[in-house]
Every structure is written in C-alpha cells, then in structure tokens.
Symmetry: C2
Subunit: 259 residues, 2 copies
C-alpha cells in the first residue's frame, strides 16, 4: 500500500514496528502534528507561551500527565512516531525510535499544528509549493522578532518561507488564513531584511529553495518556534519528534478549516 | 459623555473612581472580557481546561503571576472593573468594587472573550438580538454535555440562547462563526431537549426572553462555563467580575474577526 493510503492507525503500527522514515506524504488528508513532551513542572509555562504566541504554537491537543494517548491520537505517543529527539538541559542528547524507557508519570505531551495541512490546500488552489517541487525540507529562519515570553520561556519567532508568484500572493494569504490552527496567514510578505533575514540561501533550519524572478518570499510562523524557546529555557528533560518525523493523528485536515 | 463614547481608559477611570454599573453599551467597538483570577497553583488546570474547551473558554490574555495589567488591558485589574465577586472553596463570599486588599503575588488573571462582540455584528447584519431589545440579561442554561475535563477541573457546558427568525439562522451562524475568539458559531440550533434544556422560560442564569412564532432557539457556548467549572472544583480562592460588569479592554472588536 502507498504511504498516502495508510490510515493513521496503519501508519502508526508501521512506525511502532520499527519503520523509521519521514512522514511527508503519509496518510493523506489526516493531520500531522509536532510533538513536544515536557515534565508537568514546565508544562504551564509552555502552555502559556503557546497561548501568547498562537501563530507559531497552535496547540491541537494536550495530554494529562503520564497519559500516552491523546484525544486526537488514538495510539501510543511513546512508540508510534517514527523517531524522537531527547533533550536534557536544552541540549540534544539522542535520537530514538521509541521513548518507552524514558517514560514517567509526570510527562505531558503537546501536539502542535504543522503546515503540512495548509500546503495541501495551497496545492489544491494552484499555488506552487517550491520545497515540495524540489523534494527538499522547507527553509526556516530565525527572525529578529521575539515571541511574547511566558514565565521562564522566551525565544525568537522562527518562520518558514515559500516563494510565491506575485499574482498568487493574495490567494496564498486567503487560503492559509482559513487554517489558523496550523499557523494561518503569513506573518510577513516580501522584505526579508525587515525580519532580520539577511540571506534566503542560508536558512537556519531546513534547506534553501529556488526563488524565481517574479516571485515574492512569503513567511509563515513556524512550528520550530516552540522548540527554539524550550531549548533556550533548558528544561531538565524535553522530548520532541525528529524533524519531519511527525505524529500522524486521527484529526482530519478539514477539521482545521475555518469558514 | 455617553458611555458608548468613552475610551477604554476613560471608562476604567470611572470604575476606578467608584462607578458601579453594568458595562453593556460602554465603549462601543472595544472588546469587553470576562475576568477570572486564580492562584498560580490552579492556573495550569484552568489554562488547559480552556485549551480543551475553546468554544466556551476563549482565552484572550493571561497575566504573569502578580501582574495587575495585561497586554490588552492597560489599567489595573484590581480596581478598574465596576464590580468583582470573590469565591472561597467554590462559594461566593462577597461582591466588591475593588480587590486590592485581596491581592497576592501568586494570582494569575485570565481575560476571556464574551459574546458582546458578536452581538454588535449580528445587529449590523440585521439579525435581531432579543435580550437587547427587551433590555434583559441573556438567558443561559446548563446543558447535559460535559466539557472535556482538565486535571481537577470539570463541569457542564453552559450555553446562551438567542431566538432567531428561521430565515436568518444561516446569517446568524455565518456572522458569529467569524468570531471564534468570542465563542464563534452556535453549538446547537433548535431542539433544546437534546441539550437537556427542558424549559426555555426557566434559564439557569440570566433572564428568559420571548421566543416568537417562526423563531428558532439558537445556542452558543457561554462564558459562564469556566466559572461553573471553577466553582465545582472549589479552589481556595477565585475572583471573577460580577455578571455584566465586564473588563473593558484595549482590544478592538474587529481584532477578533477572522476572514
């Protein structure tokens, strides 16, 4: 079966059995999410940070401490993602295919929206998505804008960039603004310098993509923002998905569409 | 000056000076908000409850512990509302015009969206708002639907009801769905019995209004929901605004409009 045709539970079973692969293109129409696992002692600051920075940290679901499933994820959050990254005191210490051995009763899991959802909508609207065309990861940049801090959490806004033909910028804004739960409308159109982005060819995360004549760089708030903030605040333990190896949820992409 | 023409800071100065009056019609175009003040120890459960029940608990702003202003409220949250209600262990113990004497460094203030914002939009769209016509408080009902609990917090969904002429129900849905930060689209149209509401003339909160022939009762998630949950969970201290005596914020109603 092609990955796009797997149901979320079928895809999760494959990952649970050991398959370790990026999830782009998996389970078409089903929402993929960023995972962040934190001890309960750090959970309030993160939830408040997300409330204050909803564009970059759209929270889709939060577990009770110790719970290993979520209302939109009827699987096991410890085993059913293809790969995890473990951070201690803000530093990446290992990448694992299973975090059962690290599990504790005080761990809270956050599922955070990711822009895969609106990229499908952009394509449907005839707007090109360059990094998909080029088979690359989306380019992401640290900006000169600070997020609103919350408790001990602070960090810069991180943005993703997609080059959009000038005559389709309005369409791209219109389409993505209907998905506020997965970053929504762009935070900036054109003028990378104003965001403190000096060189589009040197992204801080992901890979550079081609910007063609007549195209405008359009910037969206990015799901790497919460990770950047969590890393700066250096909690004793934090676990995230490995980049590109997302949680495949039981929510439909269409659930996030506003009228 | 008429109350509608007061700027938010002028209105807050009047309340700070002792004016004790409901805020309906004050500072037209500026967002009014429900206030809930809780000790930091209870704040995570409430913030999570709100995240899980966004229709009834749309959080507009949250302070750091001890802060007396908020990003959308450039005043003093202890003095600048017309009246406050103080609850201890879930029981209402007093109503005050000023809570400075109760203030502590661990208190967190939540500002929560209220439906005044979308009522103005309904009127502009030509949809009648009966309780405004009749000069009454909106009728509110406890339903048989439980909110998603969070930690120690649980409670029933509370709804407000507005009778809408059948030919304008679609307009009312369309208009209010553009305001997700202030309860958004209805949760139920018609059929009060299915929500466990036996008698529209006997609301649990507020006042009954006339339902005319050809009108359909339309139900929206209500800002009383968080108070009902907080009261059931009986925190040692909680402070709210007195019903109808809202926080007048520096946010514009139009800030909450989605495309």
């Amino acid at each position: 079966m092609r990955p796009a045709e797997l149901t979320p539970s079928q895809a999760r079973a494959e990952f649970r059995a050991g398959l370790r692969t990026p999830t782009a293109g998996c389970s078409a129409g089903w929402t993929q999410a960023n995972l962040l696992v934190l001890p309960r002692a750090q959970a309030y600051d993160f939830l408040l940070f997300a409330q204050r920075n909803p564009r970059s940290c759209p929270v889709l679901d939060v577990t009770e401490p110790g719970e290993t499933a979520a209302s939109i994820f009827d699987g096991d959050l410890r085993t059913d993602l293809p790969a995890y990254r473990v951070y201690r005191d803000g530093a990446l210490v290992e990448e694992l295919g299973d975090i059962t051995g690290l599990w504790r009763d005080d761990l809270v899991s956050f599922l955070i929206g990711c822009s895969f959802t609106f990229e499908a909508a952009l394509l449907e609207a005839g707007v090109p998505v360059r990094h998909l065309e080029q088979g690359r990861n989306v380019p992401m940049y640290r900006t000169n804008r600070e997020c609103r801090p919350a408790g001990k959490l602070s960090g810069p806004l991180v943005v993703s960039m997609r080059p959009i033909p000038a005559e389709q910028v309005a369409t791209a804004v219109r389409v993505t603004s209907r998905y506020p739960a997965v970053h929504g409308a762009p935070v900036h159109v054109g003028s990378p310098g104003e965001l403190g982005v000096r060189d589009l060819d040197a992204p801080d995360f992901g890979e550079a993509v081609e910007v063609r004549p007549g195209e405008v760089p359009v910037f969206w708030a990015c799901g790497v923002t919460p990770q950047a903030a969590v890393m700066r605040s250096a909690p004793p333990l934090a676990i995230g998905h490995a980049p590109g190896h997302m949680a495949i949820t039981d929510a439909r992409d269409s659930d996030h569409l506003v009228p």
